[in-house]
């Protein structure tokens, strides 16, 4: 094997993923804030179409990343179609610590929720990412992926965790005005991006798939 192959294989993907995460993701300052704090964002890219074996390995990785207090993003640059995305979700749904469910039967889109069970036994709401027009504008990424908080619950209550449980950097944690200002900016920017999209609780939704994907048998 040519030893330079692996590095070359993912270079373009990594470039796109990093630029998107640091400059574009969610259209807000929050992702930028995450990459500025010392823990950063942990990214795993699975190059090929995911298999049960490759997905099974995620549990231990996410537990480790969660224990380190870092946000996780799992990218699937090998997934190139809605069919492959649905198949990936079906595989995840077969695993003990993943739960994939249909949210509603909208006429135009098939909304899906993906959750992962943390070591603390809380369901972490996953933010889905995909290069699909059916996705909310802030979730249209260069590749299919899942972003999640794999760590402990801190602000939420009950059986779930999400990005609200991420520890804030000290400068924001200690500064109410700065924190309020950042969340205000996030809301304004997100509202602009959602201008042509009906209002709804996007945090609950991982993927908005084209309507034809609703015939999927696995969830």
């Amino acid at each position: 094997m040519n030893s330079s192959q692996p590095q070359k294989h993912g270079d373009l993907e990594k470039h796109f993923i990093k630029v998107w995460l640091t400059k574009v993701m969610t259209g807000c300052n929050f992702a930028g804030l995450l990459v500025r704090q010392s823990s950063g964002i942990w990214i795993q890219s699975i190059h090929e179409v995911p298999t049960l074996e490759s997905l099974e390995l995620l549990d231990v990785s996410l537990d480790t990343v969660g224990a380190a207090g870092t946000v996780a993003v799992v990218m699937f640059p090998g997934v190139h179609s809605v069919t492959q995305l649905v198949e990936t979700l079906e595989l995840l749904n077969r695993l003990e610590r993943w739960r994939v469910s249909t949210l509603d039967e909208d006429e135009d889109v098939h909304t899906v929720k993906v959750e992962w069970l943390t070591e603390e036994q809380k369901w972490s709401n996953c933010m889905g990412l995909a290069p699909l027009l059916s996705m909310p504008p802030t979730r249209r990424a260069p590749f299919v992926g899942l972003a999640l908080w794999p760590g402990v619950q801190s602000r939420n209550e009950g059986p779930s965790v999400d990005f609200h449980d991420i520890p804030l950097p000290l400068d924001l944690a200690d500064d109410d005005a700065a924190r309020r200002q950042m969340f205000k900016q996030v809301k304004e920017q997100t509202t602009k991006l959602f201008a042509q999209t009906p209002e709804r609780n996007w945090r609950e939704i991982s993927f908005c798939l084209p309507a034809y994907a609703r015939n999927s048998p696995g969830f």
Partner: protein, 60 residues
């Protein structure tokens, strides 16, 4: 452009990764890891993205 790690990615055979997964994932927090199969083909990779680096303005 986001910050590039100082370290070159470390190639890890899948069998080694599975044997000590938590330690390899911990290592990926500081050094990019590329997990390869027996033929040396990259299966997946992991790393941490941190603060974007300001690029100096190009000289005219």
């Amino acid at each position: 452009m986001s910050q590039q790690h100082d370290h070159q990615p470390e190639l890890v055979p899948l069998a080694d990764f599975k044997k000590d997964q938590r330690e390899w994932v911990k290592k990926s927090m500081t050094t990019p890891i590329i997990v390869v199969d027996q033929a040396g083909k990259a299966l997946f990779e992991m790393e941490v993205v941190r603060e974007p680096e300001e690029q100096p303005a190009a000289a005219e």
